[in-house]
Symmetry: C2
Subunit: 471 residues, 2 copies
C-alpha cells in the first residue's frame, strides 16, 4: 500500500548494510564452497543435488557447489561429487570472491576456526556442524559474524537431524527457557539402552557399540566420558540462556562407573538411567552438568532409546517442549546442514544477510558450583552384611541434613562373591548392597555425608552416586 | 566483497516486488492489528509487552499493537491491554493502511476468512492460529498470500506450543517426509491416559476432562469424535506432503467406542491405545486417517501423556523426528503466534515479505481409500462361551486371507454379567471376549471377514476393531 507502484523515493541509509549487495545480485546463483567431504559432506552434496530444483525455488536463486576442499584428491567420494571441483587449498576457497557461502564440515578446531573467521571477514555466510569449535569459540564467532552482518548457522552441531537450534532461536523467541534436559550423545544412550535391556556390562555394551560403529575405536572416551555431550550443552546454553561458558565450568562425568546392578536397582525404584546434559537458568546463575541420571521410566526421555537423541526444553510460557531424532549419521546431519544452507542462501539472495542472528545476546554467566545444586540422589553402598550398617549409613546422611525417601538392602554383591574363594585371610562377612534414594538435598551436604561414610570400615567399595531428575 | 563500499550500480528489477517498500520503511515500527482478544489473544498481548525490547532487537524495529478487535468493548481483559486500542470494527483494522501485520486469533471460519483475505489483498502480513480455517481453505489462502508477496504464518494452528510448522517448512527443506504420526488432540489424549491409568470408563474420564476444562461442555464432539485432529492432520499434510485435501477425504473416528476392557487387553499385549492422526506419502497417493490406535508401550508416543501433544515425522534422510509439548492453552499457543509475528515483522521490516513461503507447492493428491490400507489389527469379539467359537472366528479371518498373530480368550464379559440376571428367556451361555491380533492385512479383507462373522449367532455385540501401528 504505502509504496506500491511508486519509485524508491527515500534513499536514506537502511538498517542493513547488506542491502547494497542485494541490488547487484539479481538472480545470480549462490556459490558454495564446501570445506570437507567426509560422511556429512558427502550427504550434503547428495541432498543439494537431489533437491536442487526445490531448493532453488525456496531460495529464489540456484544453489551451486563451486569448490570442495579435501585433504586427499585421490580418495573415493560420493557419486554426487563432480571431481573437477576438488581442491586441497581451503584458503583459496575462503578467499575466492565469487563464493558466497562456506560450509564447514571438516570438524576439529584447526584449521576450521581460522577458515571460518576468514570467510566471515570476507563477508561470506557460514554453515558449520562443528560442535567442538562452537563450544570453544561460539560467542566470538557469532559476534564476528554479527559485526560483519553475515549469517553463521549451525543446526547440525547439536543433535544431528534434530531442529533444536532453530527451535531455541525462533520458536522460543518470546519465551524464557528455564531448563534444558538432553540426551545428546548417541553412543552413551546406545550403551545404556543395551545395559538396561540385556543386562550387559558396560564393557560388553561398549564393544557392541564399537562393532556397530556407534563408538570410536580404540578410544571412545570423547563420548563415554561425557566430553562430547558437554560441548553440545555449551552450545545449547549459549542459545537457551544467552550464556558464554568455558567447558571447564561444566561438571562432566561419563558412564563408565555404571554397573549392571545400578540398572537393576534403578528399574526396581521405577527409574531408567540416562546420560543427560542438564542446564537450568536460575536467574542469578545457571546450572550446567553432564552425568548419568535416574529418570522415571514412564517419562518421555526414558523412552528415547538406542542412538536416538532428544532435547527437552522447559519454557516459562510454553511449558515442556521436546524434540527428538537421530543425533548423528551422515544424512540426518546433512539435512540440518542443508536446511541452514537454504536459510543463509536465501538471506544472501534477498540482501538481508545477518538478519537471523540479530538481537541475540550472549554474555558470561556464573555457573553454580556442583556443591550448591539441589537434587535427589541414588546412592549405592556395597557393605558388609552385619547388624547396624543400615543405621550407620542412614545416620551419617541424617547428621549431614540429608533425608532419605527409601532404603533397601540386597545381597550378596559381586564383591562378596569375589572375596569368598580368596581364602586365607580372616573370613569377612558377606557383602550386600544398600541402596538409598534421598529427598531433595544440596549436593555439598550429600558429599559431606559420603566423606563421613568413607571412613567406615564396613564399606567394601567407593559408593555409587547418581542424581535423580523428574524431567 | 563484490559490492562493498560501492554505490548501487545495477538498478535492474529484483526478484521481489516488496523491495520498493523496504527502502521507505527505515526504522519505522511494525504496526499490528489483533483480531480477537480471548485467551490466546490475551497471551499474545502479554508476551509482546513482556518481550518488547528483545523482539524489537530481533525484528530490527519495534513491534507495536495498534488496534485490538473485540465483540464486547466492556468485557474484562488482560492487564497488558491498553483499552484505548479496542474497537469492534474488524474491517476498519484490516483496511487501515498504517497497519502492517494482522494477527487473527478469533477462530472459526466467519468472519475470519474474509478478514484474512482482505488483509492479504491489502498487502499485510498475516499470522493466524485458526486450524479450522486452514483445513478448509489453507491452500487458497497460501496461494493468495504468495501472489500478493506477503507472509501467512500459522505455527499456532497445530500443536499449540510445538514448533511443528516451522520444522516441516524449514528443518525438512531437503528431506522427504514419508510418514506423520501425531497426537494432536489433548482432550482425547487426556481421556485415554486416564482410562489407561485409572481403569475409568470413557464417560467417567470425559466428565473429569470436562470438569478440568480440558473438554468442551456440554458438547465435546469436535474433540472426542476426531474432527479437531482431522483438521490438524490436513494442515500437517499440506506442509509434509504438499497435499490439498478435503476434510471428507480423511477417515475420522473418535474414542467413544473404546471400553475399559480394550485398555486392559492392549496392555496385556504390550500396547497403549492412543488417538492418532496418521499420514503417509505413498508416492502415487497419500494415506490420511484419524483413529484410536494401539502402539507399543515403550514407544515414545505411548509415553506422551495427559493433555500433551506430539508429532512424529519420518523423513527419508533424517529418519524419525519428534516434537512434543503442550498442544493448547493460552500461553503455549501465544508463544507460537508471537514467534510468527517476529518472523513476519522482520521480513516486512527488511523488505523481504513473502520469502518464507516461497517455493511451496500444494496440490490435490489422491487419498487412498481405507479399504486399501495395510495395517495390523486388534479385534475384540464378545461371544458365547462354547466350543468351536474361536475356531469359527479364526476360520472366517483365514478364509478372507487375514492371518492371525495372537489369539486369546477371556471371560466373562460385561455383556454376560448383564444377561444373567435378566432371567425369563432361555438361559444363554456366558459371554467371553476373544481378542485377536492380526499380521499385516489389507483393511478390505479384514472388513469382509467381519461381515461374515457378523452373521454368526454367537456374537453378542458388534466387534471392536482398532489398528496397530509401530511408530
Amino acid at each position: 500500500m504505502k509504496t506500491e507502484g511508486g519509485p524508491p523515493l527515500n534513499l536514506n541509509p537502511e538498517p542493513h548494510a547488506a542491502s547494497d549487495r542485494r541490488r547487484l545480485r539479481g538472480g545470480a546463483p549462490i556459490q558454495i564452497g564446501l570445506l570437507g567431504c567426509g560422511t556429512v559432506g558427502g550427504g550434503v552434496l547428495r541432498l543439494l543435488a537431489e533437491n536442487s530444483g526445490y531448493l532453488a525455488e525456496r531460495a529464489g536463486v540456484p544453489l551451486v557447489v563451486k569448490r570442495v576442499v579435501v585433504r586427499d584428491l585421490e580418495k573415493e567420494r560420493v557419486s554426487a561429487l563432480d571431481r573437477g571441483l576438488l581442491t586441497t587449498s581451503a584458503e583459496e576457497v575462503v578467499d575466492d570472491p565469487t563464493i558466497d557461502l562456506v560450509v564447514e564440515v571438516m570438524g576439529g578446531e584447526t584449521p576450521a576456526r581460522a577458515l571460518i573467521e576468514r570467510a566471515i571477514d570476507r563477508g561470506k555466510g557460514v554453515v558449520t556442524a562443528n560442535k567442538l569449535l562452537l563450544a570453544a569459540h561460539g560467542p566470538a564467532l557469532i559476534a564476528r559474524a554479527a559485526a560483519r552482518q553475515v549469517d553463521l548457522a549451525f543446526e547440525g552441531a547439536v543433535g544431528g537431524g534434530i531442529p533444536i537450534i532453530r527451535t531455541l532461536r525462533d520458536a522460543f523467541a518470546s519465551d524464557w527457557v528455564e531448563r534444558v534436559t538432553a540426551i545428546v550423545n548417541g553412543t552413551c544412550n546406545y550403551i545404556l539402552t543395551r545395559m538396561r535391556d540385556t543386562g550387559a556390562s558396560f564393557e560388553a555394551a561398549l564393544r557392541e557399540a564399537q562393532d556397530l560403529g556407534y563408538a570410536e575405536k580404540p578410544d571412545p572416551s570423547l563420548d563415554v566420558d561425557g566430553h562430547d555431550a558437554a560441548h553440545k550443552l555449551i552450545v545449547l546454553a549459549m542459545l537457551a540462556f544467552g550464556a558464554q561458558v568455558d567447558s571447564g565450568a561444566v561438571h562432566t562425568s561419563g558412564i563408565r562407573t555404571i554397573e549392571e546392578a545400578d540398572h537393576r536397582y534403578a528399574d526396581r525404584f521405577g527409574y531408567t538411567i540416562k546420560h543427560l546434559a542438564i542446564g537450568r537458568d536460575l536467574g542469578d546463575s545457571i546450572e550446567l552438568r553432564v552425568h548419568p541420571t535416574l529418570i522415571p521410566k514412564q517419562s518421555v526421555l526414558a523412552n528415547v532409546s538406542g542412538v536416538l537423541n532428544a532435547v527437552l526444553l522447559e519454557g516459562r510460557a510454553v511449558g515442556p517442549s521436546l524434540v527428538y531424532g537421530r543425533g548423528a549419521g551422515d544424512l540426518p546431519t546433512a539435512v540440518s546442514v542443508v536446511s541452514d544452507v537454504l536459510d543463509v542462501a536465501r538471506s544472501i539472495a534477498s540482501g538481508v544477510a545477518g538478519m537471523q542472528g540479530r538481537g541475540m545476546s550472549i554474555k558470561p554467566r556464573r555457573v553454580r558450583p556442583l556443591s550448591e545444586i539441589v537434587s535427589r540422589y541414588y546412592l549405592r553402598f556395597a557393605v558388609e552384611d552385619r547388624p547396624g550398617v543400615m543405621g550407620r549409613l542412614a545416620g551419617a546422611l541424617g547428621d549431614a541434613g540429608v533425608s532419605i525417601e527409601q532404603i533397601v538392602q540386597q545381597g550378596p554383591t559381586k564383591a562378596s562373591q569375589g572375596a569368598a574363594p580368596a581364602g586365607g585371610a580372616a573370613a569377612r562377612e558377606p557383602a550386600v548392597d544398600v541402596v538409598l534414594i534421598t529427598h531433595d538435598a544440596q549436593e555439598g551436604l550429600v558429599r559431606s555425608a559420603l566423606d563421613a561414610i568413607a571412613r567406615e570400615e564396613f564399606l567394601r567399595e567407593p559408593p555409587h552416586l547418581f542424581r535423580i531428575e523428574e524431567p
